[in-house]
């Protein structure tokens, strides 16, 4: 028994269990990709005639929402598989999805607000889409609070899987709110803008060159890489927790 407690902690160090090669490759590609899409958005794409330089923030603003979409989507996938198989690994993916998605949607919200200042002449307006995006953030903040409030690990995992699935509705609402409440001033870049949208611009070829790579990066590599790192860390944190309990009970 003593032998076990002594040897286990060393197993938990990252050096003892280095990231798999695929993850290391993904990390490098993600960092390079992020630098590349930033360069595309800041240097290659032309300056918008009417909005000026600030329009470039759009190459992060919109992709970050879809990054959050992927991350929160993984939370749903993780929740469903956890409930079906009771595999803790998928619960960790769900948790990592919430943390990463929350950071991404925060980026989405803040960049939108900074864009709105010069274009709409206000930092914030109670527009349906802005409101629903803010509520989406709060929902996932509630996820983390709720998670912290449940002590029993089994209950925590099951409850949070359920909540993660329900919470995804707010993501869908943010995505489709323009169809539900048409009085938004938020522009739609893909497809037809609502009549009273303010601050739209056309998706010309220059815009697409900068937008598509950024969108693909945020949609796939960015959330997946960070979530993977987070999942690995969470696995070790959980093991440490077990060890602590074990040490206390001895």
């Amino acid at each position: 028994m003593e032998e076990k407690t002594k040897s286990l902690p060393t197993d938990l160090r990252m050096e003892a269990n280095p990231p798999p090669r695929l993850l290391r490759v993904l990390t490098v590609v993600t960092i390079l990709g992020f630098a590349g899409t930033l360069a595309l958005g800041l240097k290659v794409a032309g300056t918008d005639i009417q909005q000026g330089e600030i329009q470039r923030i759009f190459y992060i603003h919109m992709p970050s929402f879809f990054g959050a979409f992927t991350a929160f989507g993984l939370t749903v996938v993780g929740g469903v598989i956890y409930l079906a198989r009771k595999s803790e690994r998928w619960d960790r993916i769900a948790l990592a999805g919430v943390e990463v998605g929350l950071a991404f949607s925060l980026i989405n919200l803040l960049t939108g607000s900074i864009w709105a200042r010069p274009i709409w002449n206000t930092w914030w307006t109670w527009d349906p889409r802005l409101t629903s995006a803010a509520i989406m953030c709060l929902t996932y903040a509630a996820y983390l609070m709720l998670r912290a409030g449940i002590d029993d690990p089994g209950k925590r995992r099951a409850f949070m899987s359920v909540y993660g699935i329900l919470a995804f509705v707010t993501v869908l609402i943010t995505l489709f709110i323009i169809r539900i409440v048409p009085e938004t001033i938020h522009p739609v870049i893909v497809g037809a803008s609502p009549q009273n949208a303010q601050g739209g611009f056309e998706a010309t070829s220059g815009v697409v060159i900068a937008l598509v790579p950024s969108l693909l990066l945020w949609l796939t590599l960015m959330p997946i890489t960070i979530i993977w790192h987070r999942v690995r860390l969470e696995a070790r944190i959980e093991k440490l927790h077990q060890l602590k309990l074990q040490a206390l009970s001895e």
Binding site: I135, A142, V162, I180
Partner: protein, 225 residues
């Protein structure tokens, strides 16, 4: 051998109704809260005739959702404190039956409160809230609240912070109900053509069905042990 679904649902509703008839602590607390909320709103917003027409559907729904939060919390806490939940889990009935039973109980109590404040608001604000379509919207919206409220209250009541967590967990998730119900109520109230408010009302019904199915599927996972 399991008790048939309908019988167990009826038994749970019957139990809740009898308990409420004796103690009268659920409906009376919710109704008193709703009344206070309406009065506070009318002072806080200084509602004049014109502002009332704009704001009254918002006031109605905010009042209803907070009143139902109060009710759901109370109803689940009673189950837990008196050890009913454990007893129900041991009983040979399906989880879905427990969910439907609690859901219908919550729905009935909240609906009673809602149907009581509609004529009250009609009298206080001088607006025709006792319209058939508003009652339909209210019933649907309350059913929606009860669906997710029952599920989430079952969860939060088992946590450390208990009552404090239900509003945080439920308000964002209840948003689709709130959004569509407020729009439908507003449309009916302003006498707009049916085409304008049938959309939100249909959407409210659709969302209610989606959530009901989701909650039925997920309920067994929040009632374990």
């Amino acid at each position: 051998m399991k008790t048939p679904f309908i019988n167990s649902v009826a038994a749970i509703i019957g139990k809740d109704l009898r308990a409420e008839m004796r103690a009268r602590e659920l409906v009376s607390v919710m109704a008193l809260f709703a009344l206070l909320s309406i009065l506070v709103f009318s002072f806080a917003l200084e509602l004049d005739r014109e502002a009332r027409e704009e704001a009254v559907s918002g006031v109605l729904w905010v009042t209803l959702i907070f009143a139902s939060l109060l009710g759901f919390n109370r109803s689940m806490a009673q189950e837990r404190d008196q050890g009913n939940l454990d007893a129900l889990l041991l009983a040979p009935i399906s989880r879905a039956a427990i969910f439907v039973g609690k859901l219908l109980g919550n729905f009935i109590f909240t609906l009673i409160v809602a149907l009581a404040i509609l004529p009250l608001m009609t009298a206080l604000y001088g607006l025709a809230l006792l319209d058939g379509w508003i009652i339909v919207t209210t019933t649907l919206g309350i059913f929606g609240f009860a669906t997710i409220g029952t599920l989430l209250a079952t969860m939060t009541v088992q946590t450390q912070a208990r009552e404090a967590l239900l509003p945080i967990a439920m308000l964002p998730i209840a948003l689709p109900f709130l959004l569509t119900a407020v729009r439908a109520t507003k449309g009916v109230l302003s006498g707009a053509p049916a085409a304008e408010w049938q959309g939100p009302l249909g959407m409210l019904a659709a969302i209610t069905v989606i959530y009901l199915v989701l909650c039925l599927l997920l309920y067994e996972y929040v009632l374990e042990e």
